[in-house]
Symmetry: C2
């Protein structure tokens, strides 16, 4: 398939298509119409057709979509056919939760190293991966072809650590610290601001009543 510019709005919906198609595939379903997808995903069939048309002729009038093919193609677009090599900075509960979540590995996101400032943790293992001192980070990133760093550290140190990581060649940062990171062009940051999410829920709870 040829590469084509896809809008960020469509991109942000792709993981959801990927998830639903994966479930259909697991159930042994080989084809699905946009109307059937519409029913299970609760978006309009026309939205689905528009979104999937971005990737060329996956659908066929009267046949629908080939589930396995569409699943694979969306996976490729999402970069899931390539292995990503991750390190995680911060071996606290959140860091442990992420390292222990097996589904990431199934999608090609492989945790290679864990770093923490707490000397007590050095040498301990999380799912077989040793926790290392921060001083080893640079060499580890350079030697192990790491492309994504996950930050599960307090905001006070996140900006400085992110700058270091970028200087070591990290191209993607999955940021859980509650601070905005400013990185050079060419470096991608994806934020998970848990407090913001909880505040949105709170707003919707309160305004529903108001």
């Amino acid at each position: 398939m040829e590469e084509k510019e896809i809008s960020q709005a469509v991109v942000s919906r792709l993981p959801r298509y990927f998830r639903y198609l994966g479930e259909l595939k697991d159930e042994g379903i080989e084809r699905v119409s946009s109307q059937e997808l519409s029913d299970i995903m609760r978006v309009t069939a026309s939205q689905i057709r528009q979104d999937l048309n971005n990737f060329g002729g996956f659908g066929q009038q009267g046949y629908g979509y080939n589930v396995g093919y569409l699943y694979d193609e969306i996976g490729k677009i999402l970069g899931l056919n390539k292995e990503h090599r991750l390190i995680i900075i911060g071996a606290g509960h959140l860091g442990q939760a992420l390292v222990n979540y097996m589904n990431f590995e199934r999608r090609g996101f492989i945790f290679k190293g864990i770093f923490d400032i707490d000397t007590q943790l050095h040498g301990t293992q999380i799912r077989g991966i040793a926790v290392r001192p921060m001083q080893e980070m640079e060499q580890f990133v350079r030697e192990n072809d790491i492309d994504i760093a996950v930050l599960t550290i307090p905001k006070s140190s996140a900006i400085e650590i992110a700058e270091q990581l970028v200087s070591y060649g990290i191209k993607g940062i999955w940021n859980f610290a509650h601070v905005d990171l400013h990185v050079p062009k060419g470096v991608q940051v994806e934020n998970v601001h848990l407090s913001d999410s909880l505040m949105k829920l709170s707003y919707n709870l309160v305004s529903r009543k108001g």
Copy 2:
């Protein structure tokens, strides 16, 4: 201040304003111009003026915004002046990470109960909160005026548990399970789909190169 309909786009930006204003407040800064806010938040001053105009006359030509007042008002709009009472279902690493994150409590989100199917965990405590069996959930929700349930459980059980919680009177669900929940009108769901977020990062990494 009078209540007014605010677009979801603005709502989703409010936590970020709240965060920056809180930092200015902590630094003892009493007023800020939209241009100064623009510089530190890296959005246009006109966007800031438009967003904050939704809440009436916080700003004054030549004076700027009163940091403390604006901080408090945005906090009220976000429902942070009211206490929210939470339970968490799933005492794994992610659940523990959330319970241990002190900032939520500082914002009025109080964890009251933790539930898990694992009998080995029952009676153990996380930050002083006992882990309880699922069978006690209904009574606990009804007796403790719980308004938010946090789901850190596998997708296989999330839909059923969410239905139960709604029948017990839960009005808000903060959902970390990787599945879409369909809830009745009047119940609010806020999703944190970590896999989707990681896939978006992967897309941006791959398409940057492509």
